[in-house]
Amino acid sequence: MKRFSKIKLGAIGILLIAFFVLVNLPGFSKGIRNFFYSFSSPIQRMLLGAGDNMSNFFAGIFSYGNLKKENDNFKVQILEKSAEISGLQELKKENEALKAGLVQNLQKDFKLIFANIVSKGIGDFILINKGLNDGVKKDMPVITEQKFLLGKIYEVYKNYSKVLLITNKDSSFDAEILSAEATGVLKGKGNFNAVLDSVPQEAEIKTGDLVFTTSLGDVFPEGLLVGEIKSLNKNDVSSFQQAEIKPAFDKALKSSVFIISNF
């Protein structure tokens, strides 16, 4: 009886190992994922929109305590702002013209592939609705409409791709602080947090400084906004300093994205 259960356990173990080896074969795992994404993506996109509305609703409830105070402030502000509105009409027209030109400008700088966000995956990555059939390849940079760096293509399926966000723990690339003329290594910490490491101790960086991509390593095109410095971590013993980074992209990830196919 004991021998039988040992054989049974061994067989289960071997079957499990065989199963994991089989499903992790590149073609097979991508096929399984693409299959599930193909019929899950319409539901996920619908739920993603509902989720945004729901989180806005709950954010409103949790800030109820401040509503009266805010209301009084707004009354004063309305009077001030109504005077400004007339002047802003001209600016609105100008803004609309600029917005229309934004996509054109982006397309002038890079060759772009437009994509929609299908879901927000487990961990810091997103799923987009463009894949091998649309010319997407692994490691292509992904940016927002505002030209903020979002991440890079991590895995490509037939009709979908996974984007590894810059805040993912597996993400690491060279970045620079233009105002201090200093470079460092930007590493993801997970949960929409990132840190700029290996910044020389003598570099004069401060909170609010903007961090951009560099052409070093050919990972991303130069000059894309990554984020801003949230806090500094200086240690006299170490020859390098560290800075917490607030990513430039909106965490809600509501907008569409662009994949840079050539830079």
């Binding site: 994922r33 599930f36 996920q44 989180s55 995956g121 487990i122 799923l127 949960n191």
Partner: protein, 103 residues
């Protein structure tokens, strides 16, 4: 038996869809909620240790988490399976819940 397993699989699929879309922006103590993990833990804790649905929920829950995550296939299956076996072991040995048939 098969009908119950199919209902369980469908329920887990719906849970993972909710986790990756409807509740993707929610944070509990700074972390996104993991419904599958919570479900597997509770299911295995309250299920009779002699039954196997908890283990099945760990396997399929882990499979769906693997599909919608960036990790290699099997990572979440193994993790949830270890959790389920551990909970079953603890419940069988040390916990007595009134009203739940043990063997």
């Amino acid at each position: 038996m098969l009908k119950n397993i199919l209902i369980l699989i469908f329920g887990l699929y719906i849970l993972v869809l909710f986790q990756t879309s409807l509740f993707a922006d929610f944070r509990a103590f700074g972390f996104p909620p993991n419904f599958i993990l919570v479900f597997v833990i509770l299911f295995n804790f309250f299920e009779s240790p002699a039954k196997k649905f908890g283990l099945i929920s760990a396997i399929f829950g882990g499979f769906f988490l693997d599909v919608f995550s960036a990790s290699f296939f099997g990572f979440h299956i193994l993790f949830l399976l270890v959790c389920a076996v551990f909970i079953k072991f603890i419940v069988r040995r040390y916990v007595r819940i009134p009203g739940i048939q043990k063997y």
